[in-house]
């Protein structure tokens, strides 16, 4: 209500964020795990004085740099762009709370970039000890940047004591912080193993290829044990409400939950097969398949996390409709239209359109996912008003923010203009609903 809503026909904001963020999150976890993978692999190669393994690690570094620094780094900035367009108020709240967290993460980010450039371009020109040190500097900086971002990500789901204290540290080190960090670290190592298969594929010599396939597979399988433990820890440390949400919860969560378990099993089986039985069977197709399964796994996890958070952007603080929990009662009394900035208050159909954009379109679309045209088809204005009144009880939709007049305006707009039941000319539709009460421009109520 404080900010305008970007309305893309047929596409909801969540999908925009999901598209950018799932790609980014996958590559970004690789950037963390891959750094450790490279540093460990180089350490082993140097100790064994294994020139062939060293050459493989060097060749893998170029692939790693091109993928993580270009696509990973840019999509990272991309998430930031995407969330500020889709959830301006939520982004603003996070930025004002965690600006120095992000600024600190940027320090690690620039150390990562410079270290990786030095590591890659000066592979043959730095002496061995120094080169290895650069590799470990990269790995440490990458993990520390995860450790900071994890604070913000887990905060949105479990803000904990911050809700009372407003303290930065309470927000950063929230109840979900440590289990989430352990889980993401494990995920990063597993994803390093998945992409590590590429290192094996790029190696021609059969013996080394076999070793690298096994080595990468070990990085897939072993971190999965840590994933299991940290996942259980994460779950056990969650509040009862969140647990219920994941397991007794809503049909749309169940699909992602099943996908996460099934894909985990698939990754574990694939990794184990490569590790024990079939390192020779590694082919571009099997590696590509496993990497794709990994992407699906990451996507399921992120969707699950997002859905578990509904109807909040920041749990207990801000709803996905950008309304603050503490303001809800006031808005219900004074009216949404009286408080909203980006709304035309002088004409009811237009007010309805703007209210729809602000309160519904953050999650719904007209003509796409969660299509309001279809969803509203069974309703008339009266039952739609009832729906608006009770939507907050559903547990996954935020409560409608506004007074009786707001509800009537929105219900009219949804039923007549969106679901096209009645006069498509929304002007007359609203006039029918509330004849003769249109406000004139300039007569908008005072803001608070």
């Amino acid at each position: 209500m404080n900010y305008p809503t970007w309305v893309i026909p047929g596409i909801d904001g969540g999908l925009v964020i999901a598209f950018v963020s799932i790609i980014h999150v996958y590559i970004a976890h690789f950037a963390v795990g891959g750094g450790i993978f490279l540093a460990v692999t180089e350490t082993i190669a140097r100790r064994r004085k294994d020139e062939a393994l060293l050459a493989s690690a060097k060749s893998f570094t170029r692939f790693f740099l091109l993928l993580t620094m270009v696509a990973g780094g840019m999509t990272g900035v991309g998430i930031w762009f995407a969330i500020s367009l889709v959830q301006s108020a939520g982004t603003s709240a996070l930025i004002h709370q965690f600006v120095f967290s992000w600024a600190t993460e940027w320090v690690f980010f620039i150390v990562e970039i410079v270290a990786l450039l030095v590591y890659h371009y000066l592979w043959d020109r730095l002496d061995a000890r120094k080169h290895l040190a650069v590799g470990w500097i990269y790995a440490a900086a990458a993990w520390l940047s995860l450790a900071l971002i994890d604070g913000i990500l887990s905060f949105m789901l479990t803000p904990g004591r911050w809700l009372e204290t407003g303290s930065f540290w309470d927000g950063l080190f929230n109840p979900g912080y440590l289990p989430s960090l352990a889980f993401r670290t494990a995920a990063a190592l597993m994803i390093a193993g998945l992409f590590g298969l590429v290192a094996a594929l790029r190696t021609r010599e059969a013996g080394l290829r076999r070793f690298l396939a096994r080595w990468a597979a070990a990085w897939i399988v072993l971190p999965m044990l840590l994933l299991l433990v940290s996942g259980l820890w994460y779950f056990a440390s969650s509040e009862a409400e969140l647990k219920g949400r994941l397991f007794q919860g809503f049909w749309f969560i169940g699909g992602y939950r099943t996908a996460l378990f099934a894909l985990s099993a698939l990754l574990f089986a694939g990794g184990l097969a490569l590790l024990i039985r079939l390192p020779g069977a590694l082919s571009p197709a099997t590696a590509g398949l496993l990497i794709a399964v990994g992407l699906g796994w990451m996507g399921s996890f992120e969707f699950l996390r997002e859905l578990a958070r509904k109807p909040w952007v920041i749990r207990g603080y801000m709803y996905s409709s950008s309304v603050l929990a503490k303001d809800l009662r006031r808005i219900d009394e004074t009216g949404w239209l009286a408080e909203a900035r980006w709304a035309r208050k002088f004409s009811k159909p237009e007010a309805g359109e703007d209210m729809l954009a602000s309160q519904c379109l953050p999650c719904h679309t007209v003509g796409g996912r969660r299509d309001l045209e279809k969803l509203a088809a069974p309703f008339d204005v009266h039952s739609m008003i009832e729906q608006l009144e009770s939507q907050g009880d559903s547990g996954y939709m935020p409560p409608f923010a506004g007074n009786a007049e707001d509800k009537e305006i929105l219900a009219n707009y949804i039923v007549r203009a969106v679901a096209k039941k009645g006069d498509v000319d929304a002007g007359s539709a609203a006039t029918e609903a509330e004849p003769g009460e249109e406000e004139k421009e300039g007569e908008a109520p005072e803001r608070h």
């Binding site: 970007w6 309305v7 270009v70 603003s92 004002h96 030095v118």
Partner: protein, 372 residues
Amino acid sequence: MSGADLIPGPETLQVPSLVFRILLVATFVLHLLLMNIALGGSVLNAAYRLRRRKAPPGAAGLPGAIALAVNLGVPPLLFVQVLFGQFFYSSSVLMASYWLAVIPLLILAYYAAYLMQGKGGKAKGFRAGTIWSLVSALLLLAVAFAYVNNMSLMLRYGQWPGYFADKRGLMLALSDPALFPRFLHFAVGALAVASISWSAWARFRDRRARSRGEDLAEDGGAKETGLRLFWIFTAIQAPIGVAWLATLPKETVGLFMGGSAYGAVLLALGLLLAAGLLVHAIRGKFMATALILAPTLVVMVLMRDLVRASALSPVFSAEALKVEPQYGPLVLFLSTFAIGAAVLAWLIRAAFRAKPGAKLRTEGEETEGESG
């Protein structure tokens, strides 16, 4: 409904706004420098390839420059959101379709900068590389245009009610008379800074070769050409700068013309420094020119800051933002920054001291890639 009615309410800060303003200016200067090298360097590189039918020496550093320009863009983008979030988020949503397109454009420009290096040697590979260099330069110019639009639109809240006619995020600041002069000012400035950076790169390489007792490498006349291009572009800046000033709102121009002592001093300093740049660059004095460039960039950024403050002054003042003090996070950032700077210094020193071994040509194009 007026645009001023639409401006969202501000949020509270953790430390006084002055801290954020200093951080914003300081980090923006760094971003500007790298952005200029990346953007101006990409355009110069494409022009050089088209004209001289070969790649300019030093071009292998471009992808690294793009990476660092993006990286150094993060902190100013962060601080601008803290100080001016209600303006910046609004304008971003109003031009959302273009604004989000910045990301794929940047990714393509970045990959194109890698592809441009091709496999060298062969005429066909070179032609393809030239096309990629053009693609990269044009994409970066498009990104710059999107940025100039957003930074203008966030100040032009009078234009915001246009949102209600079309919510698809397709608004630009094309009706702003200052838009194109502003864009040109940045683009030509980028060419100037990239030119002198090219000269600096060649000089640095010579000095290192001498200290190692090696033969000087061919630089395609980068030292002299770079400096000459620098003063040519700086001279072109003069009328563009005047045009930009002329298109700014009267109240803003008034600040520079004596309405505010601070503004008048900034303008006088800016003109003086620009004259100093021209005189020394024309006389071929590299070191003096480079030394004057640093304070010039700072003064330009401060002038830009004043233009923004002036445009928003009827509705906003950063000093008036509410502060609920929490200094711990700032200490976390500053101490990490100090450690990070030390690590960066160590990395860069290690890179410069790396032995010039013969094995460095691993993939053809990487000879100049040291450290970024």
